[in-house]
């Protein structure tokens, strides 16, 4: 396949499969080429820094420089889990736990394994429910390239006790990866999945274009947590489609810490009465990071529930965009939907754009949404500083508290702890960074709510804070 104007070419050595797989791949590639790049005046891309989307010359299947052992070591989870799969630059390094799960009838397979042993499941569900919130071109790119990732199928009535986890690594500066996670939960099944997306180097570059789909059967419960810690030079797309059947419950948390530009699209569709979906998001931005979040809560049938809470804390010149929509179909009476976006600006240069939307076509509903953007409470910060905590650390501590509302909603305590630890690591890296951070800090004068870390506490300057 020809490389056209710097667009990522289809990897000829990608995952090969049966005829239907090849046909879909080819069709997706055609679609990717046919669809235009996002344009500035498109409503689905409003406020996004279109120029930041650089498909560049990143190539799939690049050989990384980090040893398998080192990667596996870095892929050791802090919490107990039932199965694990590790990929680097879309190559499967390691998979474990599948055999044990198979005894319960649970499928935990890499895409390649799934194509071989469960082609039916894959054919039926692989990217069967598009997100359609703007990034259709990149969904097509993903479908054309997907070779790494897992298929998880939990049959009727089976509860998987411990989380199933995946790790996707971007190794080196020239790679493109296309992580895929497909979760199919049968009637009354229960499963928790944790995806880790990361670069081997903190300042790594690359292109990541992932899809995570949750298909929640009647009465099933599926939890998904996605930790995104790509390197600071990565362009990332993370597309999620969640479909919940009668009395099913889905919960997803997207933790966005890495990447230069990270677009996350998440759609929950309630297709059966009593379906519930909880959509959570948490982002910490620094430098010029941009988190572009688009969500859709689709209520197609009566008596369904959804609750969205996306929180962003933004330092330096980082930026978040939240565009959400609750759509209630004409027949979807007794819908109970909630949508909330809260942004915390840790720096005057940071920017939060919020577009919480509603489209309600039925009168018998309870729908509310809210969006707030604000700063650290000066009284609270003053209290911490009076106890000898430097302002930047104090602000970050308060930001931890700000995120607690999101993290506390995770039922698994260990995963919650892992989330807290990742947020803390990000804050720590922001504190210890030189260069840009200090420059930005220089803008903030003493007496303001955030001070450079190395500035000596000046009690007189702080007295103004309490008033």
């Amino acid at each position: 396949m020809a490389d056209r104007s710097g667009q990522t070419p289809l990897n000829p050595s990608g995952l090969t499969g049966p005829a239907w797989w090849e046909e879909r791949k080819a069709a997706a590639w055609k679609k990717f080429q046919a669809l235009p790049m996002p344009r500035r005046n498109e409503e689905d891309w409003r406020f996004a820094t279109i120029d930041a989307i650089q498909l560049g010359d990143f190539r799939p299947g690049q050989k990384g420089s980090t040893s398998k052992e080192a990667l596996l070591k870095r892929s050791s989870a802090s919490f107990s889990h039932a199965a694990k799969a590790v990929f680097s630059n879309d190559r499967l390094l390691h998979i474990e736990g599948g055999e044990e799960l198979a005894k319960q009838g649970v499928v935990f397979e890499s895409l390649a394994g799934a194509l071989e042993r469960h082609p039916g499941l894959l054919e039926k569900h692989f990217m069967a429910h598009p997100v359609d919130l703007g990034a259709q071109k990149f969904a097509a790119l993903h479908a054309a390239h997907a070779s790494a990732g897992v298929l998880i199928h939990v049959p009727k009535g089976v509860e998987v006790k411990h989380p199933l986890i995946t790790h996707h690594w971007l190794d080196g500066d020239a790679s493109a990866v296309f992580p895929h996670t497909l979760i199919v939960a049968g009637e009354n099944a229960k499963v928790t999945v944790v995806d880790h997306l990361g670069s081997t180097q903190g300042n790594g570059r690359g292109l990541a274009c992932g899809v995570t789909d949750l298909l929640v059967g009647a009465g099933a419960k599926v939890d998904l947590v996605c930790f995104q810690t790509w390197g600071s030079g990565v362009t990332s797309f993370q597309l999620n489609s969640t479909r919940v059947e009668r009395n099913g419950e889905a919960r997803s948390l997207f933790v966005n810490l890495g990447a230069a530009y990270a677009r996350q699209e998440s759609r929950s569709t309630m297709v059966g009465e009593g379906a519930r979906s909880e959509m959570l998001g948490l982002s910490v931005g620094c430098d010029r990071q941009e988190f572009d979040q688009r969500t859709l809560q689709c209520h197609d049938v009566p008596n369904t529930w959804s609750d969205l809470l996306y929180k962003n804390a933004l330092d330096d010149r980082s930026k978040s965009i939240f565009k959400g929509l609750i759509r209630v179909a004409p027949g979807a009476a007794k819908t109970d939907a909630y949508q909330n976006n809260r942004n915390l600006l840790l720096n005057p240069e940071a920017e939060a754009d919020s577009m919480p939307g509603l489209e309600i076509l039925n009168d018998d509903v309870r729908c509310t949404h809210g969006a707030t953007t604000g700063q650290i409470d000066r009284d609270q910060l003053f209290y911490l500083m009076a106890r000898g905590i430097d302002p930047r650390t104090g602000a970050q501590l308060l930001a931890h508290g700000f995120f607690e509302e999101v993290i506390a909603r995770l039922p698994d305590r260990e995963i919650g702890e892992a989330a807290r630890a990742l947020v803390a690591t990000k804050f720590l890296s922001m504190r210890t960074r030189g260069g840009e951070a200090k420059q930005a800090a220089a803008v903030k004068r003493s007496g303001d709510h955030v001070l450079p870390e190395d500035e000596i506490l000046d009690v007189r300057a702080l007295q103004g804070l309490g008033n």
């Binding site: 942004n343 005057p348 920017e351 577009m355 309600i360």
Partner: protein, 473 residues
């Protein structure tokens, strides 16, 4: 009705059979249909515009032709506007006449129900282009004039007071702001020009129909209001009575300027007939410590797109939009507000309440913009939607951009329906279901309606009762 009673609008249809007014061919001031440079020349000559206005109009025409319809975010219904079928200018002499007897009975009944004063009815029904109220309002006019307030038509404004008019005309809303502001800039006629001198506090609200001018409610009216330092003004336009009119495109531009410490309140209550596209651009420029408040009530029309805005240019300026929209079957109220913060410590408040009845659709669309380098700005937005019937629809599309330090914004929206318990309670006490619904809806908008001048709030309450009829049971 005498011969001098001319009609407001050119091609008004009263009923299907008698509606086709004929136009004699030789009218001196009819620009014909369609919009070209020739039309502009024609308007300029008819209105005796100075050269700079002619140039302004022609530039605007080009912008209008170049700009695409904003259908990538707005309703596709805009594509049903056939710009070539309109008459863009018709002077007084070319206006058709009709008599009171020709006014449909239901219109007369509506006037009665709303309690419109006898004198105003004939005018509102389009029977009298001139509102015969000189006596009633001349005292206010006199008092206002004595204070040095200029209150004239936009045409007189640009002719007689060019030194003030030119300074601000087209500055708050540039021609190229959007396709419809460009259209207005090309063909505007009618509207008001008001200047309130420094420190003058105008006690009585000024109303468009104080000014005896057939161009009051022009199709492309252009209003410019400047309130100088420390002065205060309340301006009202429209009324709750339905405007019967088959001119299906209305595209006004209203520019407000509040100088340092000034206070300006602009109240609109409009009730359009259900075939009208009402595409209006309204914006105010608030200087230091000034306050601009839009009170906007939209009823009727096929599609209304109106987002009153305030540019908060000076420190501690304050902007406010209070909006009520009522969308009945076949109507789409796409309204909202824009708050552009451009100075420190500016505050803005948006409260929007919408009611959708039958298959009506009410949309809130808003923009709050707080750029970097600003400090201590605050915005509060509340949007509440009430849905009356199962097929009613409401949407909310706010966009909020926040940067800078010490700024805070909060946005809240809720969607609800009339509480069944409330209705039950009221029915227990002898109210019919319809009465109970009306009462409940009036309660929903009550805290906003209270801010309207008394006569407006009374009329509005009656109007809600009227609109609610037949929506239940």
């Amino acid at each position: 009705m005498s011969e001098t009673n001319t009609l407001e609008k050119p091609d008004l249809k009263i009923d299907q059979d008698e509606g086709n007014f004929s136009y004699p061919e030789d009218y001196a001031f009819d620009a014909g249909t369609g919009l070209t440079e020739k039309t502009i020349d024609y308007i300029c000559e008819a209105k005796e515009d100075p050269d700079w206005v002619r140039e302004f109009r022609k530039k605007a025409l080009k912008v209008f032709k170049d700009k695409p319809l904003p259908t990538h975010w707005a309703s596709k219904d805009l594509e049903n506007i056939h710009f070539d079928d309109f008459r863009y200018y018709l002077s007084k002499g070319a206006k058709p006449k009709r008599t009171w007897d020709e006014v449909p009975d239901d219109v007369k009944r509506t006037f009665e129900r709303l309690g419109i004063p006898e004198k105003e009815r004939a005018f509102l029904a389009g029977v009298e282009a001139q509102f015969d109220s000189e006596a009633a309002y001349s005292n206010i006019k006199k008092a206002v004039a004595e204070q040095g307030v200029i209150f004239v038509g936009s045409r007189e404004g640009l002719k007689d007071h060019p030194e003030i008019f030119r300074k601000w005309f087209g500055k708050v809303i540039p021609t190229a702001d959007n396709k419809f502001s460009a259209l207005n800039s090309a063909v505007f006629s009618g509207g008001s020009f008001i200047y309130v001198p420094k420190g003058v506090k105008v006690k009585h609200p000024l109303q468009a129909y104080f000014r005896i001018n057939a161009e009051n409610f022009g199709q492309f009216e252009r209003t410019l209001i400047i309130v100088d330092e420390g002065a205060e003004l309340t301006y009202m336009e429209g009324c709750t009575a339905p405007k019967f009119d088959s001119v299906t495109l209305h595209s006004a531009v209203v520019e407000l300027v509040a100088m340092k410490g000034a206070k300006l309140q602009y109240i609109t209550v409009q009730n359009w007939s259900p075939n009208v596209f009402n595409l209006v651009t309204k914006r105010g420029l608030a200087h230091e410590e000034s306050e601009i408040k839009w009170i906007d009530c939209n009823i009727g029309s096929r599609l209304t797109m109106k987002y009153p805005g305030v540019i908060l240019k000076g420190r501690k300026a304050r902007g406010e939009v209070l909006s009520i929209a009522l969308a009945n079957s076949g109507q789409h109220q796409d309204t909202g507000a824009k708050m552009i913060h451009a100075a420190d410590e500016t505050t803005s408040n948006i409260i929007s309440k919408s009611i959708s009845i039958g298959s009506g659709r009410a949309t809130y669309r808003g923009l709050v913009h707080i750029p970097r380098h600003l400090k201590g700005c605050k915005n509060n937005t509340e949007c509440d939607a009430l849905l009356i019937n199962t097929e009613s629809r409401t949407d909310t599309y706010p966009a909020i951009v926040t940067r800078g330090e010490g700024n805070s914004v909060q946005h809240e929206a809720s969607v609800s329906k009339v509480s069944a318990e409330q209705i039950f309670y009221m029915q227990q006490r002898g109210l019919t279901e319809g009465q109970a619904m009306s009462l409940s809806v009036n309660g929903f908008v009550n805290d906003l309606v209270r801010q309207f001048p008394m006569e407006y709030s009374v009329e509005l309450k009656r109007l809600i009762d009227l609109e609610m009829e037949g929506s239940v049971g």
